[in-house]
């Protein structure tokens, strides 16, 4: 199979995000999977460089190896091939116990410390729009060693202050006062890590080890660091850019479209010109 990088006309943005997400997974890791593109990314990693990864579905499937892509973590497709199928109490207890290396999550808004909002747009008490709510986002983000967020990049979403901290980043609120403190201070011996990357539709971002502030790591093809900085409401650090986001290989595209998601549930195929 062709391990050459594909040309830009051969793939779409969803392919690029999926492959970038897959590259965050290391072999032998235990990965907590949410619904959607992350599920495809994890299964892609499982079929390429991380054959020994273990997959946990939030609804209660442990070490899952679904024969076809589930449309949600509660899907009947999750069980087949799994080590154990049970329920949420198992999944969350295992996560709180510290077994999860990596979780993939989404968000409507993110701030420069990786705090994410999936609850509401605008004031919580008088919201412009009520969203889905937290789901397991804060739980996975509290329990896992690393979390990776996959997000649509719009200036209003990369904001100085999220409307509501649904999921904890590197500087979080200490209650009852609500003053911002480093995550390590609050989590104490339960501290295991936090957000390690944001993969947006513009680039890949990482977090400074010391203060946990976001910086731009790679730009997707066709985007410049300055353009991406202009797509953030906060002052994005672009001093540490390492280059362009690695494009998908032809082998990865083959696996995504012919093996994992031939029905195009999450990843549309690029139409050949």
């Amino acid at each position: 199979m062709d391990t050459q990088y594909a040309n830009p006309e051969e793939y779409g943005l969803a392919d690029l995000l999926c492959c970038a997400a897959a590259r965050e997974v290391q072999d032998h890791e235990i990965v907590f999977a949410g619904t959607g593109l992350p599920m495809v990314a994890i299964m892609l990693a499982q079929k390429t460089h991380a054959p020994n990864l273990k997959l946990i579905f939030e609804a209660g499937t442990l070490d899952g190896r679904p024969p076809e892509i589930p449309t949600s973590v509660g899907d009947a497709r999750c069980e087949m091939g799994a080590s154990r199928s049970s329920g949420l109490n198992d999944a969350f207890s295992i996560a709180q116990r510290g077994h999860v290396d990596l979780g993939f999550l989404g968000g409507a808004e993110v701030d420069e410390y990786g705090n994410v909002n999936t609850t509401c747009i605008g004031d919580y008490l008088n919201p412009e729009l009520r969203l889905t709510g937290s789901g397991g986002n804060p739980d996975i983000n509290s329990f896992a060693k690393r979390t990776v967020f996959i997000m649509v990049h719009e200036k209003r979403r990369f904001t100085e202050r999220v409307s509501y901290i649904t999921s904890p980043g590197w500087r979080v609120k200490k209650w009852p006062g609500g003053d911002f403190v480093h995550r390590r201070e609050l989590y104490g011996s339960a501290f295991r890590g936090g957000p390690s990357a944001v993969i947006s539709t513009a680039g890949v971002f990482r977090f400074d080890d010391e203060v946990g502030r976001i910086y731009l790591d790679t730009c997707h093809a066709g985007k410049t660091p300055a353009e991406i900085r202009d797509m953030c409401q906060f002052d994005l650090d672009i001093s540490r850019v390492s280059g362009e986001t690695v494009p998908p290989t032809r082998k990865e595209l083959h696996i995504i479209h012919n093996v994992l998601d031939p029905e195009q549930i999450f990843i549309p195929k690029v139409k050949k010109a």
Binding site: A59, S72, L125, S134, N137, D261, Q264
Partner: protein, 321 residues
């Protein structure tokens, strides 16, 4: 042996009173007791307090129909088939509903505590988030924390007194009047066998004061007791049972039928407004009963959703673009 636990759908709905607290089996768009949700809407139930590990279409239908005063949970939407709960969102905007937000793990642990008879659970999740913001204690601000059915605090923060592990969050047990389960099989005496992931069903059933089980089929107890290790809920934990094939539609049921994604998409697209919801309810709920609903859906649609018995899911449904 018959236990006399059998009731009708109408009787099941009547057990849920105006103002009852209520929870369900399942997970997001899987194994939700829709036949009863529809019947509650037909009967015009009011003032419900939904306490759910996670929400889903059942939340959206009950909220859209004006049955719900309080929703206490962490998530609502239709997964792939509708990205958020538009009915809940609308009623949050018009302040017709109170929402109490916890995290998913917190909700799960709250049910596990209630199921074990413990007053609270202890966890380290969601520290530093606005979920713990004291200004966002909705039920407290509404003066509803009576310390009886609704806990006197949303959270209590404490330090680990045993191992010095630092900040801990105490979350109150989820005290629920009625749990309605939708499962594959129940025995005449109430023994439940679910297949596939059992989600938070065992804890929900045990947490509630009254547990009603809606099953695809009622089977002989003796059949279930031949392999009791496969059963998920014990007979005496179940108060009422009824048989209701396709009772979870439009949500899916492992081994029986898939999620009806097209139905959920139509619901999501059509019920952004109250007028849209009312029209949808008029077409699919009011003036119907479960059998006429199935008749309206029709054989071709239901056969397409039917799970392949070897795979436990349908190979016929169109899932992607």
């Amino acid at each position: 042996m018959s236990s006399g636990k059998r009731i009708t759908l109408q009787q099941a709905a009547e057990i849920v009173k105006d103002g009852s607290s209520l929870t369900f089996s399942g997970f997001t768009i899987w194994r939700r007791p829709f036949a009863l949700v529809y019947e509650l809407i037909r009967q015009g139930r009011k003032g419900l307090h939904l306490i759910e590990v996670n929400g889903g279409p059942q939340t959206e239908f009950l909220v859209g129909a004006g049955c719900v005063d309080i929703w206490e949970s962490c998530w609502v939407g239709h997964e792939l088939y509708g990205k958020y709960g538009a009915n809940l969102s609308r009623k949050v905007g018009t302040k017709e509903i109170l929402v109490e937000d916890y995290s998913h793990a917190e909700m799960m642990f709250r049910f596990a505590a209630a199921a074990a008879g413990s007053p609270y659970a202890i966890t380290q999740t969601s520290l530093g988030t606005d979920i713990h913001n004291p200004d966002y204690d909705t039920l407290g601000k509404a003066g509803l924390r009576d310390g009886k059915r609704i806990a006197s605090h949303k959270y209590v923060f404490t330090e680990d007194p045993f191992y010095g592990a630092g900040s801990q969050v105490l979350v109150p047990a989820a005290k629920v009047d009625v749990a309605v389960m939708c499962v594959q099989q129940v025995g005449e005496e109430g023994t439940v066998r679910t297949s596939g992931q059992f989600y938070s069903d065992p804890e929900a059933a045990r947490a509630a004061d009254i547990t009603i089980v809606i099953a695809e089929e009622i089977v002989p107890e003796e059949y279930l007791r031949r392999e009791s290790d496969r059963n998920t809920i014990a007979s005496f934990e179940v108060d009422y049972i009824l048989e209701c094939p396709f009772g979870a539609h439009p949500t899916g049921m492992f081994g029986r039928y898939d999620v009806d994604g097209a139905f959920l998409k139509d619901f999501y697209a059509g019920t952004r407004t109250q007028e849209g919801f009312d029209a949808f309810a008029k077409e699919w709920i009011h003036g119907q009963d479960h059998m006429s609903y199935l008749e309206k859906l029709g054989w071709p649609r239901m056969l397409n959703l039917k799970a392949n018995t070897a795979l436990n899911y349908s190979t016929g449904v169109k899932r992607g673009q």
